[in-house]
């Protein structure tokens, strides 16, 4: 498990995000995904980002961040139409932020602490997704285990 100073309370149980007693968490988007519906997923995230009052450039950042997490699940985390990945988005008030959580049942990252930390070689065609996530997000938490991977990122509303 790795964490960059999580700035918000994250639901401990992925199946019960709002019921952890924090009093300020309510899931605004909960959507499954696979390779075939990432366009719809991006649209849904954009709509929610817009409803939070984010300026369009920040909405675009949030969409890119959510997409890269989902893309990672599709390409490496075993997310398919039969066993889709799951993306949830919720807002927190202290500090004002959007939290985006993506879970899949794939084997997970071998080294979650290092994943996406270093720039990728210019000749490589792959491996920039988590780098982008770490550049955009204010905090990234990766939990990788035998039952799957959960990545939770915090995106501050004012930045």
């Amino acid at each position: 498990m790795t964490s960059d100073q999580p700035v918000t309370a994250v639901p401990a149980d992925a199946s019960d995000p709002a019921g952890n007693g924090s009093g300020q968490v309510s899931v605004s988007l909960d959507q499954t995904f696979c390779a075939d519906n990432l366009f719809a997923l991006r649209n849904a995230v954009a709509a929610h980002g817009g409803s939070l009052g984010l300026p369009s450039a920040r909405v675009a950042d949030l969409v890119l961040l959510a997409h890269e997490l989902a893309s990672n699940s599709v390409r490496h985390g075993g997310a398919t139409a039969a066993v889709p990945g799951r993306l949830r988005l919720w807002a927190t008030t202290d500090p004002p932020a959007v939290v985006c959580e993506v879970t899949d049942v794939g084997p997970g990252l071998t080294d979650p602490d290092r994943a996406g930390r270093d720039p990728v070689a210019a000749t490589a065609g792959d491996g920039r997704g988590l780098w982008i996530v770490r550049q955009i997000a204010d905090a990234v938490e990766i939990v990788a285990g035998s039952s799957g991977t959960r990545i939770t990122v915090t995106f501050l509303l004012s930045r």
């Binding site: 390779a35 969409v63 780098w131």
Partner: protein, 290 residues
Amino acid sequence: MATATSVEALGPGDHACLTFSDPDERLDIVAAFVRDGLTSATKVVCVTESIPPERLTAELRDRGVPVADAIPTSQLMIFSTDESWLAGGELTAATMMDRIAGYLDEAERQGYTGLRLSADMCWVNRPIAAADQLPVFESEVGKFFGEGRLTAVCQYDREIFDAVTLAFAAAVHPLAVAAAVYYEDPVLRICRQHTPPGVRIAGELDLGHVEELTLALAEALRLDRDIELNLARLHFMDAAAVGAVFRAVAGLPAGRTMRVRCGGPVLRMLRLVGLPDLPGVVIAETPGDQ
């Protein structure tokens, strides 16, 4: 029915229609048509209606057409409909035929091998225009092509013309020019760009179409030394797609360049991953699309 062809394949005597829905794509093809005419000692006349002559001139210049050399020598002439078809006051098939005959004579007097005519046809929808003259004109104009001195591309905007007129246009033109499309669906379009040569991508591009992007870039780099990757109309691009661009740039021999035209969120993403810093990559920033 018109046979599909590429603008580069047009030669003396060809009469082609260009039906389009993307104004940029139309200008791209018109610019290639003009450019190829100028380099083959042909006189080129553009009659424009949907955009004023000054803007068409600027659009051609932006696409690398040497307008500054060709307009003063009148090898290239750019007219509005009022200055050409309507210059005599009345617009009929007969006056249009006279006008083309005049341009052909002028080309011959000036020593050019022939005439290239780029005709924006949306004047047909003006209240003043007699729409019944269009079929007469498009049929009679055929005699000029038989002599092999005239080459023309008549442009029909799909947003303006009704289906019957578009079908008519397709029927009377032996050829139809279009951009080579590598991939197209409601969300994404990847096609060849003619001026400057390269690839144009519109819509949203993600991991699902990395292969098509790779093929399009490879073909562009085979055909031309330096290419432009035009992403001005691309709203979203992900890490997997940009990976294909990194690979293409990595294979670029020293001294060759890939110009990437983009703005807004796509440019921001490219900066995050460092594409603009690569040797051979030149960024041409456009106003953000969002």
